[in-house]
Symmetry: C2
């Protein structure tokens, strides 16, 4: 049997989708978390492409959330029943990936490059425009596809979205920014999907037992 | 036989990897380009997720370059010989995707949010730090893998990288920014790979006949 190890900060963040999927698939894994963010430079050189999350399988390190989730999704029969369905699942997940990228860009990467005033404007834009517009798009797609991103059945894109939706708020908490918007309020299909995924028995158990973290 | 249509601006940009792959696979396609950038709002509402490039297959629209390239890569036997190889190919492509995202962020998306001075600093950082650091990482990986991103053989990640490397310069031209750095100068394995892909007969023919565009 293969051994699995998730390597990431002590956050849900970008790694949580991988943890959700491993739990979904009933795979035991080592949940390795850096003791502190300051430890990262120590680990960075040994990570392929210098980034985390990393999933180590039998001692070999694999990187990038989208790539890892596509792999695990296929392994657990969450990647559609043909290549065109797999493409659609992949597409949905990529747009979720783009959204969280934008959230990180504003709240983290480009924050030091903005003036205080522009930063505030960019944060407002995230909350009032970027996130709601993306989610509304996702809502339409999920409404048209029987409550899931693709073809009326659970896929890894649904699980990826659910973990990333939580991470959006995690990112705001981590950055000490206030965000009390309930983005799912007006997106009932997306809200149902989010709750459905979190109530999958294996994922529910994981959520109940996972470490409490700040984002 | 299926019908294929690539929908994008009249640029190489993010669509060129799809055009490269379709040519590689010997697939005829309609190469639909908006007459002008101003036409985009007219098309946007009918695009899944409101973005291009889109690949239409038998009238159904599919979106996101990574997702489409993974699909075409699999179709043309460029996705590895097992699931772990496919994962590694996917990982490589995702990091190339992240790089071009950063280039677009600075030169386009966040440009209006930077002061003139910060913008100049960010552009310098792209040229002197971000792009060279990523490419050096890719160089190491390609050197370790027999001249390709994964396992010593051609994959869709190699083709995706080649088109995106060209697009980096396209993005600079499009933004009227000067970039005369030869990023491949010190990365000989990556340079060989870039040239090898562009010399694949089908891709070479496409490059010779494709429309001349500004990026």
């Amino acid at each position: 049997m293969s051994s699995y190890k998730v390597i990431y900060y002590n956050y849900r963040g970008r790694a949580e989708a991988i943890r959700f999927l491993l739990n979904y698939g009933g795979i035991e894994f080592e949940d390795f978390r850096f003791e502190s963010e300051d430890d990262w430079p120590k680990y960075k050189p040994s990570m392929p492409y210098g980034k985390v999350p990393v999933l180590e399988i039998d001692g070999v390190k694999y990187s990038n959330t989208l790539a890892i989730c596509a792999f695990l999704g296929k392994k657990f029969n969450l990647a559609g029943s043909n290549d065109l369905e797999e493409l659609q699942i992949h597409t949905a997940a990529a747009f979720v990936y783009d959204l969280i990228d934008t959230v990180e860009d504003v709240l983290y990467y480009y924050k030091p490059s903005f003036t205080e005033e522009v930063y505030k404007k960019e944060v407002r834009k995230l909350i009032e425009e970027t996130i709601p517009t993306s989610l509304q798009k996702f809502e339409t797609i999920v409404a048209q596809n029987g409550g899931h991103f693709v073809n009326g059945k659970l896929s890894w894109a649904d699980i990826y979205f659910t973990s990333i939706y939580e991470y959006i708020f995690g990112m705001f908490i981590w950055s000490n920014e206030k965000c009390d918007a309930d983005f799912l309020e007006k997106n009932e299909n997306l809200k149902k999907l989010y709750e459905k995924v979190r109530n999958i028995e294996s994922i529910k158990k994981w959520i109940a037992k996972r470490p409490e973290t700040n984002g």
